[in-house]
Symmetry: C2
Amino acid sequence: METVSTNRSHGGVQGVYKHRSSETGTEMTFSVFVPDHAEGAKLPVLWYLSGLTCTHANVTEKGEFRAACAEHGVIFVAPDTSPRGDDVPDDEGYDFGKGAGFYVDATQEPWAQHFRMRSYIETELPALIAAHFPVDMERQGITGHSMGGHGALTIALRNAGRFRSVSAFAPIVSPLACPWGDKALTGYIGADRAAWREYDACALIEDGARVPDLLVDQGMADGFLEEQLRTHLLSEACEKAGQPATIRMQEGYDHSYYFISTFMGEHVAWHAERLTR
Amino acid sequence: METVSTNRSHGGVQGVYKHRSSETGTEMTFSVFVPDHAEGAKLPVLWYLSGLTCTHANVTEKGEFRAACAEHGVIFVAPDTSPRGDDVPDDEGYDFGKGAGFYVDATQEPWAQHFRMRSYIETELPALIAAHFPVDMERQGITGHSMGGHGALTIALRNAGRFRSVSAFAPIVSPLACPWGDKALTGYIGADRAAWREYDACALIEDGARVPDLLVDQGMADGFLEEQLRTHLLSEACEKAGQPATIRMQEGYDHSYYFISTFMGEHVAWHAERLTR
């Protein structure tokens, strides 16, 4: 692991790091904020998975998470959204290929070799984080935005017991039921839609997966709400399955970091309450 | 005035606007955050002047001011740092020409026509803001970063009584005594250094100008501290002149928005205390 940069911020250290990933076969960059802490202390960790077109940098610069993470003593990890590099295949659209890994392990060509974001986020990166940062891996939370909200929900639902807290900002709740999901999962996983269910939060809940509880904020002026995000499908799946969930529709808010940063402090506090008790 | 974008954020509206400036002879872009407020209310306004290479966008995206401005009910205005456009002269350096207006009215060619940032910030933009936003112009504060800290200090010192509160992040405190100032003021104002004194915070204080009080934060790991910013010159000028000032040297902090955003909340609260009492 190589340090790209470190900056003192809000009493802690905001770092950017890169490493050679065996899962993606590429160099991967990520950011970690470590708040001020007592020597030798192990802190809870909150994973943040970013949305389409983003890298680690968007939330690191615009997410406004550091004040709350410093206050609550939570480490914040922001990975990239896909493999990068000249030898990685890409698509002309912003919603597939680079910047759009969808947190799946691709099985279709030409994607299968590099697009292994599920294994990267679920297995490889946690081991690296545990080895290099003062994290208590018994106290993990996960959140994300849009495609990253989909990633957070599905990774938490598939890994029962690993995450004490789960939330999302404007998540894609059902790739089975929206154009972004249809394009991405057809491309990465293939036409057999039964194989998509492990990458669909609503289907996972329908199939019996559960998380302790769930906080979702969704802007009502989000231009992707009706066609792509379809929050009501998650509300219905949770209600039908008895999955506890707080899903808040926020009037006037769109899909941008102006929305995310507004509710970031509340999400960090919500995770911290569950990670530090 | 034309609206470029508006986004709901922290309960208020973050807008970006542009207009044709008669001072610079160009189109100028700026951002304004208006917190939630009672209908018909007039709010205090905090001006933020940005540093070298920046536009309105840097602080708007990375400044982390909205939570505090929403809490305290303060409007936040962030102008650009220079005229822009193909017909505006420029320099190869990042520290002169576009992005580096230094908040002066240039007298030298080829700069004199467009580089009128002093008059733009002191006169033209305030009239536009007063006409289009719910501001109480009797309650103005001003702050800024680096070159913009220089701008905030000198504008406040030259306009006695206009600003109830003045602060700065890592300001250039004396263009007369640093390479950035030497290059910029020679280029914009000419070789007569006596003419620079109205653009030098330390010289203005030495010559009798005063502000009610002053808050400055300066990172001790700031790579520009020793050669360009030279905070001790401001401390000495204030002490000698009896100008009240709180100048805080912050260990480990650099010149970036990771530093600014750390102390932004405290600055906004400090201004709000003086603007709302």
